[in-house]
Amino acid sequence: MAPAPRATGPLRRWFTGGGAAALAFSLPMILAFGFFSWWPILNSLILSFQQTNLVDPAVWVGLSNFAAVFADPLVAKAAMNTLWFTVLSVAVGFPLPILLAVAIGELRRTRSIASGFAYLPVIIPPVVSVLIFKQFYDPSSTGLLNTLLAGVGLGPVPWLQTAATVMPSIVIQATWAGFGAATIIYIAALAAVSPELYEAAELDGASIRSRIWHVTLPQMRSVMLIMLLLQIIGAFQVFTEPFVMTRGGPENNTLTILMLIYNYTFISGDYGRAAALSLILAAILALVSLLYLRATRGWSQGK
């Protein structure tokens, strides 16, 4: 290492006292976050008030990017689609892992097999899982799911072809890909519940159902509340599934907010408008989190 600059006392003391070493060890983190986290966050703010095409100098345009976002009829469509996806995916994807974890938690010798089964879809790259399901959703009567439905006298269903069926189809795939991760977290939370609580409940004559209702669920409450919030935030940012499955179709019925940001950036090259829409999405997510955490503060303490 280069000798400390001969000069002032404080600098030398800083160097020999470990200040240089601390800075050297902090540097990779400062550079990584500076370039790829802090600056992009700041630049998002700047971009949203600018008009830029990367060639000419950027022009400050005030709130006109935000005005352009609200004037775009596709924004309302994308917002409704994203909301619909969130409602559907949370309605299925929130309770399912809880029920599954409670059931798997009762297994003894087969518990690790069941956990492994549940987690396997999480390991499959999302793109592959979407392409598999795209094949399952073949609308013809020889499609895999339609063959299964025909076995019970239903169908054929035009899975990805109509406005009514396309979002539920995407939600089914997204739930398949994601339920395992949440299930494993709940299984870990269940394992932390003290056995004495069940012991006591049983001595008091509590049935299995009331043990689940009065012991298991309250003990998992804080994990459940956080998971619900994370699932909502995740669902708001859905991109890969509709992008690979339908490209937003049919007739923009699976166009999501994030896909619109993608279109603004990479198809129209309108970075200002993309940044404005990103900020609006961030603000909505922050607001949802804030309201949610405030509303549930009392419950999560387990009172």
Binding site: F36, Y119, A189, L285
Partner: protein
């Protein structure tokens, strides 16, 4: 034995013990032995079988179907998706995936991206956590706050700005598009990995560092000979998290690697889905899940434990 070594061995053994003491499997949960042996026994057994079979069909079924399709003709996949190889097993598909759709090239790219992301991710997480947890310079609190604050900014929100950063890196004015650097570097700014690492470093007894310092060890020596060896479990966990996330990533590599020759499997497969023969696409998809599934089978316990504890950390 110097005082450092003594402390060091003690720290390792207490860590081992504390891991052993953790109850692996508590004997009772909602159901008691009483329930299990009582009149509910038959019904519980039936429920268990239904649960395992349903989970197996739903989770493993599509993966097995992918294997079947990877070794079927395109005709069979379309006409009889549930038939078991009506035209015989086409092992040749798996070979042709390497020649016709250049599976090997995309697999190599995937591996290069995963390894580079892993190396830079670990570098940033370990050195950064060491600075925050052990060296603690005066600005550590500010730095820690700035890093943790990014946890609350959803990644996709900065997608456009991050893309522009990579297109023209500030100060340096380099364009990273169509280079692996664009895939490696941004992923290393993960506050979550720094946080996981820091939590683990925080639990190393501080007397160990004091003793090492008295023995004349500098910051680098303490990092390499004490902190890293004592943190092998968490380094393993973070490594798995980084590699799995990199393998699964789609949107970012798609944006920064428009050159098909550099794309990983996750980006190449949807592109090939439009043009390639269906049977070969299925073969490529199957081959692309072999490595992650094999890793999962080998490290199942570690992966499940770390995914579970992530919830505890979030909660």
């Amino acid at each position: 034995m110097t005082s450092t070594e003594r402390l060091y061995t003690r720290a390792i053994s207490t860590r081992r013990e504390s891991r052993k003491e953790k109850p692996e499997d508590t004997d009772r949960s909602i159901l008691s032995i009483h329930d299990r042996s009582g009149r509910l026994r038959g019904m519980l057994l039936a429920l268990k079988i239904v649960l395992l079979v349903a989970l197996g069909v739903i989770s493993v079924g599509p993966v097995l179907w992918l294997f079947k399709s990877a070794t079927s003709t395109s005709q069979d996949i379309l006409r009889e998706p549930l038939g078991l190889w009506p035209s015989g097993i086409q092992w040749d598909n798996l070979v042709q995936a390497f020649t016709t759709i250049e599976f090997g090239k995309y697999l190599t790219n995937t591996l290069i991206i995963a390894m580079g992301t892993w190396a830079f991710g670990l570098l940033v997480a370990t050195t950064g956590a060491y600075a925050l947890a052990v060296l603690r310079p005066k600005y550590a609190k500010v730095l820690e706050f700035a890093v943790l604050a990014t946890l609350f900014v959803p990644g996709v929100v900065t997608l456009t700005a991050l893309f522009l950063t990579v297109l023209d890196v500030p100060l340096l004015h380099i364009n990273l598009i169509n280079t692996f650097w664009a895939a490696w570097l941004p992923a290393s700014a993960s506050a979550f990995n720094v946080l996981l690492m820091k939590t683990s470093f925080d639990s190393i007894p501080r007397e160990l560092f004091e003793a090492a310092r008295i023995d004349g060890a500098g910051a680098t020596r303490i990092f390499l000979t004490i902190v890293l060896p004592l943190s092998r479990p968490i380094i393993g966990v973070v490594s798995l998290l980084i590699i799995i996330a990199s393998w699964k990533d789609f949107i970012w590599p798609m944006l920064v690697l428009p050159n098909a020759a550099l794309q990983p499997l996750s980006v190449a497969l949807p592109r090939l889905a439009k043009t390639a023969e269906l049977s070969l696409l299925m073969a490529g998809m199957f081959l692309s899940v072999v490595i992650p599934v094999a890793l999962f089978l080998i490290f199942q316990k570690q992966i499940l434990r770390s995914s579970g504890s992530m919830g505890a950390l979030k909660g």
